[in-house]
Amino acid sequence: MSSVEPAISKPVEYIQHHLNNWSLGVEPGQQVNIVDFGVFHLDVFLFSAALAGIFAYVAWKIGSNLSADKPSGAQNAVEAVVEFVNQQVQDIFPGADRNVGPIAITIFIWVILMNSMDLLPVDLLPGLKAGIYAWFVGDPHHSYLKVVPTTNLDGTFGLAICVFFLIIYYNIKSKGVVGYLKSFLYHPFGKYAMPFNIIMTVIEEIAKPVSLGLRLFGNMFAGELLFLLIALLAFSVWAMPAQIALGTLWAIFHILVVNLQAFIFMLLTIVYLSLASQGGHDEHH
């Protein structure tokens, strides 16, 4: 594992190396603009798609083998999750249509899976890839890999933007296009503050996906960074016990963060969709 060497000598480079994506459309290690649609982060897409594939496979495997009378162990476990999510949907969004449940459980499980990549040792997959890269291509220092899709804005905002459009869809579905536009005019301060209302409502609507995306990204990014800092303790044999103890502690704590953030993302999505579906002219403040 060649990436252990720089961890000892050049901590800043080690961390920066780990924070770079395996990307198309940009030179390895090159800085990318904050918004650049010419770039494609291969690692984010591959890992999230692979995890989605695993989730879909397990769902298909269990879904095609359902039994009302004799549920298998796996079915029991999945049933518990489905019932948990369904309970949340029923509690928060009583008149939910049949798409809210699938949306909620997909967010919940997929985000958990993507977040859980954080619990793999920070150098395991990047080191593996660097080894293969060195074998076939060349200098392993030019091999980049970010394992946790949710430590990228793409990963979290991909979901947040979907939620944003779903909010618009549910608004239009419950109020109609005119009703939805009216809610921009008369909300939150009545019809005498119309221009102000428009600004406020636009900010409110934009803030929803932005807060969703940034919250998940921030939590996962910070967690990943801390794992990297703990990994830096490998500078000496004497620091190893500290590294192991801290790594274990943070990993255990991070299990909570991983699930909690996925749960919050799901819960807020349901809340937003529920708010969006609340009746026509009623002010909900």
């Binding site: 918004v35 010419g38 897409f45 298909w60 009302a68 489905v82 991909g158």
Partner: protein
């Protein structure tokens, strides 16, 4: 830390995943859960109904048993009454029969006696004549003494 074309990929993956999960897992599982809920509800209702039916049946069985006991007691009483009647009847019949046999026997006896007497009567005249002849040593004309002989015979 940037927004790139990956975002579009994420959106597409998410959309496909939601559609797939809905069709493959969520809808079938909701159906299974609803089925199970309905089945449990109907099972509980059936159990409740069964309990009530059992109670009714038990009541009915108890009633039937009581009725049967009553009936059997009635039948036994009736049978005893009937038996007494039959015995009584038999006794009466036997008594009548005995009387009838007795009177028939008595009548026959009387008949025999009178027949014997008749026989005796018819022979007594000849016997008396025979006896008198022996005593007197001469022939006696029975026609002459017919009157005496008839009186004699009548005495028997």
């Amino acid at each position: 830390m940037n927004i790139t074309a990956t975002l579009i990929g994420q959106v597409i993956v998410f959309a496909i995943l939601v559609w797939f999960i809905k069709g493959v897992l969520w809808e079938p599982m909701m159906k299974v859960l609803d089925d199970r809920k309905a089945r449990i509800a109907s099972g509980l209702a059936a159990a409740e109904k069964g309990k009530q039916e059992e109670e009714v049946a038990r009541q009915k069985a108890a009633d039937e048993l009581k009725k049967a006991k009553q009936e059997s007691a009635d039948i036994i009483a009736q049978a005893q009454r009937r038996a007494t009647e039959i015995v009584e009847e038999a006794k009466n019949t036997a008594l009548e029969e005995a009387n009838r046999v007795k009177s028939a026997a008595t009548a026959e006896l009387d008949q025999e006696v009178s027949r014997a007497r008749e026989g005796l009567r018819s022979q007594v005249a000849a016997l008396a004549v025979d006896g008198a002849q022996k005593i007197l040593g001469k022939e006696i004309d029975a026609k002459v003494h017919a009157k005496v002989l008839d009186e004699l015979a009548a005495q028997i």
